[in-house]
Structure formats: C-alpha cells, structure tokens
C-alpha cells in the first residue's frame, strides 16, 4: 500500500500547459476522487500517476519514492479504463492472467490469484468467456479484476462507470465501495459525476482548467466551498447564484442587496474583512436552503415557471425580479405549480467578484 504525493506537478503538451502545478497528498488507504468538468485535466493527472503521461515538471511520489521517471509497470499501480480495455481475443481468465503470465510469474500463484479475484468480483462462471460475450457490467468487473490481479499498492480508476446504465452504475458504485473496504488499498478515482464523487470519496479533489480548486471531504466541500466553482459543482441541483451589491459593511459582516427591481437585503456574517460598500458580489443559495417565508434571513418573492414533483420533494423552477432563474427545493407540504410564492433564504454563501468565497 502506498500514499501519493504531488508537488508542483506540471503537464505540458508542446507549448500548451494542461496541469499548472498541482499539489496534493493522498494518504495510504485513502479513496480520493478527482472531479471536474471535461477538459479540466483530471484524467491527465491520473494518467501521470499511472505513468502513461510524463511529468513535465514537479515531483510525483508513490509510497515515498520519486517515480517521475519510473516505468508504469514498476510503480505498483493498476488502472481501470473507461472503455475497459479488455483484450478482445482472450477469455476472461486469460485477460486476468495476461500481465502476470507475460512477466514470468509463478503459475500456481497466478491460478491462486485468478480464483481469489473471481471470488471477490463474483465472475467465476465467466472465466471461459470472451469479452464480447459479456454485458457491460460484467466487462467492467473483469477490468477491475485485472487490476486486482496485480495486487497493486494503488488503484487508479478512469471514469470506470460512465459507460454503464444508471442502475448498474449505482450497483457498481456500491461494489467499488465494498472493494475498497475489503482491500484497504489506496484508490484514486476520476469522474465527472459529482454523485459518484460524493458517495465514494474519502476526499474529493475538485479540478478546473488544470488547477486544483479545492480538496476536502465530500460534506466539507458541500458545506464550506472555497469558491463559486466548487459551490456550483458540488450538490445537485446546483447552487443558485444571485448577483448582489454590498450596501453596508461592519465589524462582523456585511449587508448585501440582491439585484432585482424589488431589492432584498440580506445580512451576511463574516469573520474576515468585507469588501467596500458598493462592490459587486454573488450570493449563493442551495435549492434546499430556501424555507418558509418569514423563517429565514430574508424573504424573496418569485414567480413559479414550472415544477418537478418527485414525490417526497418538489423542485420549483422560478424566476425572481430581473428574470433570474432559481431552483427551489420544496417538501411535500409546500408544493407549488404556478403563481407567485414567497420563500425565505435560510442559508447563503457570499462570493466576491472573482468567485472567491467571503467568509
């Protein structure tokens, strides 16, 4: 087992820089998820850890050893690919054992590992089949099995569930969590699906445009985002952002006025310095942080455009003055289909113009 350490890691393709000096410590046995929109560099970062991409600058350590120039096979890692990358002409058993056979591993040990892996992933009855005779979920298991066969110190997953249907994805997610518990090995997992990130991760690394935006436990990112990007990326439906202006700043906070033709004022407690009065800011409110009128920090009147009734909860799509779209989560007692409703803001976040969180 091994932790991973990235120090000022940079990746360039020619003149084009993809990763801009990433710093990260992954503890031994931890399940870390890289998440971010497509093109943010999360897969590149994972492939650098695997050794499939060279590190342009900085230091990459696995288990305390500098591995910048170490061959992928010597790093003690195993990787599961999005497309499974199974060898199409080999049976499941041959797929599992191929790497070990090719590197002259002891035959009895290979057989032992195949049996164990097939047991862990419940694929014993599939061993003699070829990949094309398997369903998507079964192929994914075999791909994971091939990784387990190496008995790696570090597992790397590159969007392993994105080719599966929704139901299978949930099922495999549970299995991956079980696998992590059983093997207790460090795992780094790349996804663009924040639900996967929230449910699997010990810690989440949010990336954007080749920069690590924030690292933290899932609920910490949800409760206490560092910036507007993370706030918007974590949580579903995403946080509402309402432009606002500081109207007064004091010792322990500031008062902001939400944009719109019926100005709403909101008091924001802050421990740090507040921007000057008149500065533009953004107020973030999660859909679930709207409450009954009169019971929050400020009330807001909105016109309901549409509602999605999911049974226990209802998502109301509404517009406030100034035509700003809002998503409001309501419970079963407070469904609304049309008309004007008044809701209160129970909890909100304040961001400066650059998107940085004001605390």
């Amino acid at each position: 087992m091994a932790g991973v350490s990235l120090k000022k890691v940079v990746k360039r393709f020619g003149a084009y820089q993809i990763i801009h000096g990433a710093d990260l410590e992954v503890a031994d046995g931890e399940f870390v998820v890289f998440v971010g929109p497509s093109g943010c560099g999360k897969s590149t970062l994972l492939r650098m850890i695997a050794g499939l991409e060279e590190v342009s600058a900085g230091e990459l350590m696995i288990g305390g050893r500098l591995v910048n120039d170490v061959e992928p096979a010597e790093r003690g890692v195993a990787m599961v690919f999005q497309s499974y990358a199974l060898y199409p002409h080999m049976t499941v058993e041959q797929n599992l054992s191929f790497g070990l056979r090719m590197t002259g591993h002891d035959k009895a040990d290979i057989a032992r590992r195949v049996t164990r892996t097939a047991g862990i992933l419940r694929i014993a009855e599939l061993l003699q089949r070829k990949p094309r005779q398997l369903s998507g979920g079964q192929r994914q298991r075999v791909a994971i099995g091939r990784a387990i066969m190496r008995e790696p110190k570090l597992f790397l997953f590159d969007e392993p569930l994105s080719n599966l249907d929704a139901e299978l994805r949930v099922q495999m997610r549970v299995e991956l969590a079980r696998l992590h518990r059983e093997l207790g090995v460090t795992m780094i997992y790349v996804t663009h699906d924040q639900t996967e990130a929230m449910t699997l991760a010990d810690r989440i690394v949010v990336l954007r445009d080749g920069n690590i935006e924030q690292v933290g436990r899932p609920l910490d990112l949800y409760d206490d985002p560092d910036n507007q990007f993370v706030a918007g990326f974590v949580g579903s439906p995403k946080m509402n952002f309402i432009p606002a202006r500081i109207v007064e700043r004091g010792e322990k906070g500031a008062t902001v006025e939400l944009a719109g033709d019926r100005p709403t004022r909101l008091r924001q407690p802050l421990t740090g310095p507040a921007p000057e009065a008149g500065s533009s800011v953004v107020v973030g409110v999660r859909p679930e942080h709207f409450g009954e009128a009169g019971k929050g920090d400020a009330d807001l009147s909105v016109a309901v455009d549409m509602a999605e009734h999911l049974g226990g909860t209802t998502f109301v799509y509404a517009s406030m003055a100034g035509n700003r779209e809002l998503v409001i989560q309501r419970d079963a007692e407070h469904r609304a289909d049309a008309g004007e409703i008044t809701v209160s803001i129970r909890k909100s976040y304040l961001f400066d113009e650059s998107g940085k969180r004001l605390r």
């Binding site: 050794g51 061959e71 195993a78 990787m79 999005q82 199974l86 790497g99 090719m102």
Partner: protein, 286 residues
C-alpha cells in the same frame, strides 16, 4: 412491376447486357470449351485432350510449380514486410507520416509496363543492381538469363509493388485497435515486443488473412511481371506462371479447350487455397 423498379432495371440493362456477354457467357462457355478438343476443324467432346492433358503435361507442371513457388516464398515475405511497414507507419514517433504512406502506396499506382521496364533496366547485366553489387565486391549476376535469379527478380518486383498496398490495409487494421489496450498492457509490464506478438498480431489476424487471400488470388493469376520483366516467362520457361501458360496455350497456339481447362484449374486452386487460409485462420471457440 412497379414503375420505380422498372425504371431501375431500365438503367441497369446496358450494364447487365455487357455483364452477360463478357462475363457470364465466357464463364459458362469456357467451362463447356474445357471439355472440347479444339485442335480439330470440328470441335469434338474429348476431355482426355484437355483435362486429361493437365495431368501429364510437363509444361503445365512447370507453370504450376513456378506459381506455387512464388506463392510460398513471395506472399509470406510480402505480408511480413507489410506488417512491419504498417507498424512503423503507425508509430507515433514517425514524423511526416503522410509522405511515407504515399511513398509505400505509390508503386500500385505506377503503370505495369513502366515499372517492368524500369526493373528490366535495373536488373540487366549492366544495370544499377549489378553495379551496386560489384561496388560492394559481389560478382555480377545474370539476373534475367539465369533461372533462379530471374525468379528472384519476379519475387522482388512483386514485393516492391504490393507490400505497400498490403501495409496500408494492415495499417487500417492497426488503427482500429484502441490505444488503451496497449496502455493496459504497459501498466501490466508487458514489453513492446510481446505486446506486438500477443495483442497486435492476434487482433490483426482477420486483416492479415484478408491480405493473404487477396495475394493468393493475385498470385494464381500472375501474368504481367513474368510477361514483361522476364520476357514471357523466360529464361526458357523458368518463370512461366499458370497465367502465362494459359495465355500461351490460348492465344499463341489457339488451343482454347486446353486453355479453358487451365483457367478453371487456376480458379479452383485460388478458391481452394483461399478457403484453406480462412480455415487455418479461423477463430477457434473455446
């Protein structure tokens, strides 16, 4: 018949007539011809002088031997070379891939007569090949008048002309193998050479079989090179192939019955060898 269908057939008719007259009819008629003695004024049914002669004619045996010799030596060398070329062309390390691809494919586009003339010049007694050989201290070879050397020239010419063509087909097959399969093998610690042996080659098998079958069919019909480069299968009949022998029987001695029997033999051999290839290369189920 619906109007649309009728219109379609109307447009197809000219082609179908040509196809019938110049494809179907000769195929059917030559089959019938192959049983006739065409060396008499009145053609008579006598398979003994056509099919029967195949079994005893030393000239046919010679042409068959030459053709099979080319098949057994040239096709494997060419396919192996084409595979290596394709892998090199596919290498990400290769700069200027486009020009290389064109260069290897170009021989197919060159006219047969032109390339044959150049090969005759290169391999004649005072040609560049002998000149280069002598510079390197090798004795001059009578390429076109010595039987074994003449056969070698045919094999070299064929390989030059068709290796690139096959390489392009194999390259297409290579490009259909996803990169991540190799990445998975790299992480598994499998060397590049073993990746080639155990991943690339098995996955290329259908494409390589296609190339082999196409080459077998081409070789069985081989005509231009021995006709043009070694001057009608010379020296003597040393490079006379089945295709040339057929031509000689049909259009030099006008023995159409015998030529038809040879033609059918060539077709049957091509089919048989191709089927054998497909059978050998079939995917074996566990």
């Amino acid at each position: 018949m619906r109007l649309r269908t009728r219109t379609a057939y109307a447009f197809l008719t000219p082609y179908l007539l040509v196809f019938l007259a110049f494809w179907i009819w000769p195929i059917v008629n030559s089959f019938w011809l192959s049983f006739l003695n065409t060396r008499t004024a009145n053609w008579t049914f006598n398979p003994q002088v056509t099919w029967g002669r195949l079994l005893v004619d030393p000239a046919f045996a010679n042409a068959l031997k030459n053709t099979l010799l080319i098949l057994v030596i040239q096709v494997p060398i060419m396919i192996a070379l084409a595979t290596v070329l394709a892998v090199l062309l596919n290498s990400p390390a290769l700069k200027a891939r486009g020009p290389f691809r064109f260069a290897f494919f170009a021989p197919v586009v060159v006219g047969e007569v032109a390339y044959a003339a150049v090969f005759r010049l290169m391999f004649n007694e005072f040609g560049i090949i002998n000149k280069l050989g002598m510079t390197a201290g090798l004795p001059a070879v009578a390429w076109l008048s010595e039987p074994t050397a003449a056969m070698a020239v045919i094999i070299i010419a064929l390989t030059w002309r068709w290796a690139g063509y096959n390489a392009i087909i194999i390259l297409a097959g290579l490009q259909s193998i996803p990169d991540d399969v190799y990445e998975a093998a790299t992480i598994d610690g499998v060397s590049k050479f073993r990746q080639f042996l155990f991943i690339t080659l098995p996955l290329l098998r259908p494409v390589i079989i296609l190339c082999v079958v196409l080459s077998v069919i081409g070789t069985m019909q081989l005509f231009s090179e021995p006709f043009l480069i070694t001057n009608r299968g010379g020296p003597g009949q040393a490079t006379e192939t089945l295709g040339l022998f057929l031509y000689r029987m049909g259009f030099n001695t006008f023995n159409f019955g015998y030529a038809s029997a040879i033609a059918y033999t060539i077709a049957a051999l091509a089919v048989a060898i191709s089927l054998l290839n497909l059978w050998i290369g079939r995917e074996r189920e566990q």
